[in-house]
């Protein structure tokens, strides 16, 4: 029943229907279209600076002649452009983000606030070290937490992201092999077939041949196959633990011991450290090197794809080869050892430099705030809650979808597409239908060891109500799929800012930059 107030303004809902209505602007209420910034050029300027006084140019004749081609916009127009763009993104702050192997957990804003303190954000990497003692202390503080949590004696702080950390760890292994005269003979790296793509890519980048280890029926490394592959030419294994099926490698000690016996080193991909932090120390498992994705375990924001940070903890055997720079203490003051000679003076034999300067300081501050907030008790609880939630998802959906392996799982639960058999619906369709239900899809088609993989990581940041609704939604989608209600899947998403995008077209003739439209033909 529609009411009417005294000004004649209707207060009821009016006629129902018309959801398919087209609009003049293309906007749909709060869902607003946005042109490219180059198409919004108004010739305005979003900053106010006065032209400098006349000066004598010292560019030696190398002065830019043409325009750059940048558009000009006022500050409010720039603000509106990016706010509208932001509204086309899904985010953790808006909803559950179950991307397995990515760890989309809550990003506390305290961490952002701390990283912006001028004493951290507004200091230059090459200021005299006596003016940045607090920054060096902060790096040492994070290093101390990482070493203690992993039970490892050393850590290289400079790697810029997880894959960069892999490179660092494998370079340290290479240097250690070289030092004992094994560098040229050990040319093979063992990588389980369930590994992240970065592992084989890293090994190959360093010139190693990659030898895949098969998985067993229960989703773990086939220890017999692994042992059969050991030999005097094996440099290392790159093993993720917990692995990418979300399972703990039960035989990890046996693997580490056999490898060490055969003269190889154990690189652990620490992407999934978040499942065991505070409960298990990789140092107790025989690991020689492991990177830690600060953006996963210690919740520095993913930021739409970066920046990351990937410090690498190192065993006693690899510690001397850690990359430049090192932090050393001298006469009660912290200093950088920035060159091989300076590192040699403190007994090191660094393999070299991974990056300019000293690493992702802004990420260290965020990780420090996160670690201090949790403490050893909170970190352990976080790992336990993450594992509990994943097992809860696994237990709740194993009879509705098809669980790939027996539990318990660690922080993520792996399903495959057997439950979609004969429905004509694929993992991709199932995932896209989740978007219409307001969820970001889970990781799809990874790991490669099962068909049509769906890897779900709920994280410790979700309440039980939130996980319950997610489970109920997936159960409803699964029932719908089994009933062959293909419409709900084949064209999905229907309700997102965009319908499904044509990736084939994008790759066939790549358009990677905007080009100004050709000027209109002059009238005859």
């Amino acid at each position: 029943m529609s009411g009417m107030n005294s000004q004649g303004r209707p207060t009821g809902v009016g006629e129902v229907g018309g959801a398919e209505r087209k609009t003049f602007t293309g906007n749909r209420g709060l869902a607003q279209e946005e042109l490219l910034i180059f198409e919004r050029d108004s010739g305005a300027c979003g900053v106010d600076f006065d032209e400098p006084d006349a000066f004598e140019c010292r560019l030696g004749g190398n002065r830019r002649k043409g325009r750059v081609g940048l558009p000009g916009l006022s500050e409010p127009d720039v603000m509106r452009h990016y706010v509208r763009l932001s509204q086309k993104n899904y985010s953790i702050d808006a909803g559950l983000y179950p991307l397995g192997s990515c760890t989309m957990k809550h990003n506390p804003r305290l961490n952002e606030k701390m990283a912006r303190l001028p004493g951290f954000a507004d200091v230059h990497p090459l200021q005299p070290t006596k003016t940045v003692q607090g920054a060096l202390e902060l790096i040492e503080l994070v290093a101390h937490w990482l070493k203690t949590l992993t039970g490892m004696p050393a850590v290289a702080m400079s790697p810029k992201a997880g894959a960069h950390g892999e490179l660092c760890g494998m370079m340290a292994i290479h240097a250690a092999l070289e030092a004992r005269g094994d560098g040229a003979s050990r040319t093979r790296v063992l990588v389980p077939e369930s590994a992240h793509g970065t592992n084989p890519a890293t090994a190959a980048l360093l010139g190693y041949s990659v030898d895949a280890i098969p998985a067993t029926e229960d989703g773990r490394v086939d220890v017999a196959a692994f042992k059969a592959k050991l030999g005097p030419d094996v440099a290392a294994i790159m093993l993720t633990n917990p692995n990418t099926c979300g399972l703990f490698e039960k035989d990890i000690r046996e693997i580490a011991d056999a490898l060490h016996e055969a003269g190889g080193y154990f690189y652990c991909d620490g992407a999934n450290f978040n499942a065991i932090v505070g409960r298990v120390r990789p140092g107790d498992l025989g690991v020689d090197a492991m990177h830690i994705n600060l953006h996963k375990t210690f919740s520095t924001p993913h930021g739409g794809g970066g920046p990351g940070a990937g410090p690498v903890v190192l065993s006693e055997a690899l510690a001397p080869y850690a990359p430049l720079p090192w932090i050393v203490e001298r006469k009660g003051r912290l200093k950088f050892a920035e060159t091989s000679e300076q590192v040699e003076a403190v007994g090191g034999d660094s393999f070299g430099r991974m990056t300019a300067f000293h690493g992702q300081m802004g990420m260290f501050v965020r990780a420090a705030a996160y670690m201090m907030s949790h403490g050893s008790d909170g970190l352990k609880q976080a790992a336990e809650d993450a594992v509990l939630s994943a097992n809860y998802v696994l237990a709740s959906l194993k009879d509705v979808m098809s669980a790939s392996f027996e539990g318990p799982c660690m922080h993520e639960a792996l399903f495959d597409d057997r439950f979609l058999k004969d429905t004509g619906i694929e993992t991709l369709d199932f995932a896209k239908a989740m978007i219409d239900e307001g969820y970001h899809p889970m990781t799809m088609y990874f790991p490669l060891v099962v068909h049509g993989a769906m890897l779900i990581e709920p994280t410790e940041s979700e309440s039980k109500d939130s996980v319950d609704l997610f489970i109920a939604t997936l159960a409803d989608l699964a029932a719908s799929a089994k009933a062959k209600e293909t419409d709900r899947f084949s064209g999905a998403p229907y309700l997102a800012p965009m319908r499904r995008l044509d990736e084939t077209k994008a790759a066939r003739k790549p358009v990677l930059t905007w080009t100004p439209p050709a000027p209109a033909q002059a009238a005859e």
């Binding site: 951290f120 006596k130 498992l285 201090m372 907030s373 318990p408 965009m498 790759a507």
Partner: protein, 448 residues
């Protein structure tokens, strides 16, 4: 714990459905010897106030650039970042989203990446750019590997005036690609003869412009010489503000341009995170490392953007990938692109002119100090001086007087005694006339 929503009642109910008596049962696959019953020996949880107190105490032990006359550069520069930038990059939808693998709900990220790629191509004068690298130095090393892949040749000729950290990163990575590096000696006045070192085996020439000491050069003759030997020219730009005033590398024959984008939108952050820029000629696009965003359309024909050409990348190609990189500097490129959008054509050019004018004024003032010699005949916003005393002491004593006066070359070339008296000095829009006067008078005192 304030970040953990589950209650003990929830936990019990969840364990009930799982059919586990307690949480330990879920960790039963961990070998017994590695299970820990007691907490790890680290401090316990802290409230927000306590964390803030502890970290602020550490921060307060540092001298922030903004608190003193500040002239430090050498690959990282202090510029004014408009307030809008930091506000926008902290929006939840940008800050707390993942890599845009589901393009239907990630158009915000994808569109700004497409705009970023376009801006980087425009600035550098190149045809294509990627969605960014970790930083300039790692991008530089990847460029050398890329040149190796393209030319099938292995000798990289590096300018001696390339940032020593960049050179070290290239040295470290190219050892594994079995590249031969021809490393030049540091020539401080921009007269390095790099052409003489190019031969038939050369895969690429790597040259920084403006170079580490500040010199600005015409690279066209070097490009011509490289191309004559079927080698590529890789140009490194560590101060991206320079391209508002300096001839872009693409107009001087560059084949690949790598840069550090920190100057736009990003604070100094004690060295990271920064944003690596990577641009190239169109014909090399399939040999590029890193993420690329491309235009396409959706099922209804609407323009949209996706990550593309991922068959180059590790998650598809594994050991055959062009690089193992699995990230870009997402939020840092967002800061870069917002700052550049605010500047626009007019603001970017003007800011570059202000930078140059400030550096010229400072150089003239320091040149007037007894014993000081300007060793870089050309420069943009950074130049090098020779002082009559060891630069280590000069920098140190300037710091005691509350002036962060630049970077001594010997910090980056230790043991190279002919560089011991050199200081590399940057001056950007943040410096005032008072800052410059304070520097000149302090330097005079330190040298007298």
């Amino acid at each position: 714990m304030r970040y953990l929503p589950l209650t003990d009642t929830d936990r019990q109910a969840m364990l009930g459905r799982i059919g586990a008596a307690n949480i330990d049962e879920l960790f039963r696959d961990v070998p017994k010897a590695a299970r820990r019953d007691e907490l790890i020996d680290l401090p316990r949880r802290k409230g927000e106030l306590e964390v803030e107190r502890a970290l602020s105490a550490l921060a307060s032990k540092n001298v922030p650039a903004g608190s003193v006359p500040f002239f430090v550069g050498a690959g990282a520069y202090r510029h004014h970042v408009p307030a809008t930038v930091d506000h926008l990059i902290q929006r939840s939808e940008f800050l707390t989203s993942y890599t845009p693998y589901q393009p239907e709900i990630a158009q915000g990220t994808l569109q700004y990446l497409f705009e970023f790629q376009t801006q980087v191509a425009m600035l550098t004068g190149m045809e294509v750019a990627n969605a960014s690298m970790y930083d300039g130095s790692t991008g530089c090393a990847e460029a050398v590997l890329m040149a190796h892949r393209i030319t099938k040749k292995k000798k990289a000729v590096l300018s001696g005036a390339l940032h020593p950290h960049y050179r070290a990163v290239v040295e470290n990575l190219s050892e594994f690609a079995r590249d031969d590096l021809d490393l030049g000696e540091p020539v401080t006045d921009g007269t390095e003869d790099i052409i003489a070192r190019i031969d038939d085996d050369t895969s690429c020439v790597v040259i920084q412009n403006p170079d580490f000491f500040g010199n600005v050069r015409d690279l066209q003759p070097i490009a011509d010489a490289a191309h004559a030997k079927k080698a590529l020219l890789i140009v490194v730009v560590t101060e991206i503000m320079s391209l508002g005033l300096v001839t872009p590398p693409g107009e001087m024959g560059a084949d690949i341009v790598v840069g550090e984008g920190q100057s736009l939108g990003n604070p100094l952050n004690f060295g990271g995170p920064y944003v690596g820029l990577f641009a190239a000629r169109q014909k090399f696009v399939r040999q590029m490392p890193g993420r690329l965003c491309g235009e396409t359309e959706d099922a209804e024909g609407k323009r949209g953007f996706v990550l593309t050409l991922s068959t180059r990348e590790q998650h598809i190609r594994r050991e055959k990938a062009t690089s193992n990189i699995c990230t870009n500097s997402g939020l840092c490129c967002l800061a870069f692109t917002i700052h550049l959008s605010l500047l626009g054509e007019e603001g970017y050019g003007r800011l570059a002119r202000i930078n140059h004018a400030n550096a010229v004024k400072l150089a003239d003032q320091l040149d007037a100090v007894d014993g000081v010699e300007i060793v870089t005949p050309t420069f943009f916003n950074e130049f090098t001086i020779r002082t009559p005393r060891n630069a280590l002491q000069v920098i140190d004593e300037l710091a005691d007087k509350g002036i962060l006066g630049g970077v001594r070359a010997s910090r980056l070339w230790p043991g190279q005694s002919d560089l011991d008296d050199l200081i590399v000095i940057a001056s950007t829009e943040v410096n005032t006339d008072e800052d410059r006067a304070a520097y000149a008078s302090a330097l005079k005192e330190v040298l007298s």
